[in-house]
Every structure is written in C-alpha cells, then in structure tokens.
Subunit: 302 residues, 2 copies
C-alpha cells in the first residue's frame, strides 16, 4: 500500500510492504497551496511507477480547502473509530487504485476553545503499539502548530495546540527583536543552536508576567549587552518552548513521548530535562506506520 | 521652549508657552530610521520659524543609534534625578539654541531580565502632579512595546514591558491566523472594533495553557465556524490585551492610569473593566508637560 502525508505546504508518500515497513519514499513541494485544486493529477504524477492499489492519505488534504472535507472525529477516538471515519475519494484517472482520506480529530475542552488536528493523529496511532500500560501517556508533537496529545487505553482522549513554531518564525524574522539577531538563513534554518543561551531562555520562561512581557527580555538584554546577537535566537527558542511546556505539561508528569524532526525533538528534550521530565524521542516516520494500521483495519492492506 | 518626542519612526515637536501649555505642534515621518544620522539638519528644518532658545528632547534620539547616547538612569527616579541626567548636544548650526536630551530609565527586577524605556518617562512625569497621595500608583502606557510603570512618592520605582502591540501586528498581518481574517488595512488600522468579540478574547485569556496555546483558539474557532472572519481581529486583540493584564496587573489593584492614543486607551479600559479594575484615561500630550517640568528644573524654561 501507499501512505501519504499531504499538508498545506508539502507532500510525502511512503511505499509500504505487507508488514508496514517503508520500502521507498518520495517528497515534493506539492502541498495544497501549490496544487490549485488539481489534486488527482498531482497524486497520479507523484505515485507514477508505484503500482500498489491502496492509497491512504492524512493531513490537510481532508480539510475544507483540500480534496474532500472529511469531518473531524470527536475525542476520545482510537484506531477503530478513525478507520471507520475514513472516506474514499473518486479518482477515475488513477485506474485501479482506491484512494482514502483519514479524518482529523476534534476535542472540546471545558471552558476553552475547541482543539483540532489533521495528520498528527496518524503519528500517534503509529506509536500506540509501543506504549506500555493504559496510561495516561503524554505525547508532544512540536512544530509550527505543535500538538500535545493524551492517550489512555489506546485512545486519543484530548489534545492541545501551541503555536510555538509559528511565533518563533514570526519573531525571528519580522519583529523588532530580529534586528538584534544575525540575519536569518531562511524558513528552515536551525539557528537556535547555543545550548547555554537556550537554557537561559527556558529558565526565563519561569518569570511571572506572561509571554508578551518575557519576550521583551530578548531586546532589553540585547540593548544592555548581556545577550549577544548570536545567542538571541537560541534564547528566544528556549523562552518560547519553556513557555509552552510550563503552560501545557500537566503537573506531575514525569515522562513525555516526543515525535518530530531531529532538531526540534532535541530542543524539546533538553527543555523537558531542565524541568525534570524524561523524554522518549520518535521520528516522523511513525505516520506511515499509523496509516498502515488504519489500512489493515479497513482491509486495504494485508 | 520646544519639547520634542523623537522616536524610531516618528518626530513630534510641541511649542510651549511659559505655563507649559502647548501653543503649536508639528509632526513628521522623520524618525531615527529616516534621518540616516543627519539629526542636526533634520531638527533645524523641523523647528524652522520657531525661535525659542531651549529644546528638550526625549525618546530613542538618546539611544545608541540616536544623536547622543544618554545613559539609562536606574529606578527609582523622579523628576530631579531625570533632570540631572539630561545631556546637552552640540548643535552649532542651530545658532543660539541649546538642545538637550532626556535619559531613559532602566529597572532591574529580581530574577528577571532588565527593563528599559526611553520617552515614556516624560509622559509619566507629566502626570505626576495629578496623582493624589503617595501611591503606589499603576500607570499603563499601551503600545508596540507597552509599559507598566509604578510610581511611589513622586518617583518611578519600577517598570515592565509587554510586546502586545507588536505581537498583534505580527499575528494580524503575517501569521496563519491572518488567513482567517479580512485583509488588513495597514499598519495603523484600528480593525479590532467588535466589542463582543473583544470581550470573548479577554475572557479566553483566562484559560490555562499559556499564550502560544490560547492563540490557536482564533484558528480552531474560525475553522469550526464559531468565530467569523470579521470578529477575529477583535478577538485576537482582546486575547492579547487580556493576557497582558493578567500577567502584569498586580493582584489587588483597583485602578490604573492609562496613557496613550484614544483607540488603545478605550480598548484597555474595556479589558480592565472586565477584570473589575477602574481606568483613568490620559492623552499622549502629557509628554510635553513632562518635558516642560524637566526644563524648569534645569532652568531652560521659566
């Protein structure tokens, strides 16, 4: 079968064998925004040469601006509920293939705005088999809009989002703080790599006053010469990640499962360690594993 | 005398009579960034036709990137200390005039980054005569980098900064949240003017999880149709201002002096009222009054 993670800005496809192992993979800058609605043609092109009949897709491709809007599924939900919520799209030009889209999840906390995710749920499903005991297990998926997911008894019971990655990018590139930092290397640069400055930022997130207040410390320490320009990106990263952890990590949590790219996972693990919390790192390839699980439940894969 | 507020992006001059009342005023897009170091020539041009001998200036003109770096003065500081910290600049082409720059203030809270301000201190000084009793009095000066100032016994004893205005501008124009809002009218647009949505935002700032988490509520409620595009800017404004107030308003505070432009002061007063705090509004012209006080203390004005 073929597993696809199709988001706003990127397209990733994995060709899986019968055990769910990744045999080949492809990626392209063919996110939703680049497709202009021609999803079927883009998919046909991206999968050329792979003759597998079953295609299961997750991510924003199932949103209102995607190929087919697949309604959010309410938490709690486990693999059986998510598999049951999958929808098949009509793709006549993909002769002989059957193409499915996985639903995203929604969660309504008490007295707070609703939470939603699309795509991350497959990474969570990919990890389910590795979680010992009924939980609760806390999973953190850092990113532009990072997710905190709680799993109990094999089901996703709640989720929370933090816009930490987006705030970092905005402040790093467009804010008055950016004037006190070296020029940014672009959207994917990992420039926050001074561990001592990062630790200072995590520590600073403990001070009272809220994030909008704490952020000014980047500027004042820069003006007064106690934070060098090269240290400022790492300090900012530590401050934002520290703020996220102090806001969303439930009291008493001793360990967190971290799922994401190597650089982000490393930073979050360091920040968690500073707060006395152990982290177990996992790569993003879990998503393909989760899609394989869903495909098996629907009889699309063996 | 002439009072000048000279910041990074704007220049404002006030011609004052002997009582300190504003007789004439001028403003220009001649901030530091537009001057390219030619401060003396810009000042001569802006003051043409005003023959007053004494010129007292405040704002970023006294910073490292300004005309003359005037060292920050440590809190606590009152009008006498600030007057004593004023520095005269050499301006031979401004024949017969004497030109002074007011120092900014610095404050070092316990276990937190330092705080600095340049320019706002003159507005605070302009209000001192109106404050009844020894205090403590809490003054809030909202803006791009808004300030919270505590005055006791006629002296500024502490200050705190919140980057609320800058965060609003970044999120309103450059973030993924902006895609869920009407097009922005530009840097000065006051588009957050739906009081009910603003109140919802202030209420949402009470939820746990921190600002990076709360901000996602703008997106999730937009996706799920419970927050209309036209409501989103006001909701965002209320969320950010509510976050600032909850972070920086000292527990038990019953009243706050608000100094700033009419639109911002109105919004902050509404948010404060929702938290049960009374607000007394003041306009930005207080700065000229503060500069007149300093000029009198130095014998520059009568």
């Amino acid at each position: 079968m073929i597993a696809v993670d199709w988001g706003t800005s990127s397209f990733r496809a994995y060709r899986l064998d019968e055990s769910g192992a990744v045999r080949e993979q492809r990626s392209a800058a063919a996110g939703l925004l680049a497709c202009r609605g021609g999803f079927e043609a883009v998919l046909a092109q991206q999968l050329a040469g792979w003759d597998d009949a079953g295609v299961v897709m997750a991510g924003m491709i199932g949103s209102r601006g995607g190929w087919l809007e697949v309604p959010y599924l309410a938490c709690p939900a486990g693999a059986p509920e998510i598999a049951a919520g999958m929808r098949e799209v009509v793709a006549p030009s993909l002769s002989g293939r059957r193409v499915w889209i996985v639903p995203g999840l929604a969660h309504q906390p008490a007295a707070a705005p609703p939470e939603v995710m699309r795509g991350e749920e497959t990474q969570v499903l990919g990890l389910l088999g590795d979680l010992a005991g009924t939980g609760p297990h806390w999973l953190c998926l850092p990113g532009t809009h990072g997710k905190w997911v709680c799993v109990e008894d094999g089901r996703i019971v709640s989720l929370r989002t933090a816009m930490t990655g987006e705030l970092y990018a905005l402040l790093r590139r467009h804010s008055l703080l950016a004037a006190l930092m070296p020029a940014s290397g672009g959207p994917d640069d990992a420039d926050g790599d001074d561990p001592a400055a990062f630790e200072r930022g995590v520590a600073a997130s403990k001070a009272p006053g809220g994030l909008a207040h704490q952020l000014f410390g980047v500027r004042s320490q820069g003006l007064l010469g106690t934070l060098a320009a090269e240290q400022a990106p790492s300090y900012l990263s530590g401050l934002l990640i520290g703020h996220e952890l102090r806001g969303l990590l439930p009291a008493g949590t001793r360990s967190v499962q971290l799922i994401g790219g190597a650089d982000l996972v490393r930073r979050y693990a360091l920040a968690l360690a500073l707060l006395g919390v152990a982290a177990t790192p996992h790569g993003e390839a879990l998503g393909a594993r989760g899609l394989h699980l869903l495909a098996r439940l629907r009889g699309i894969a063996a």
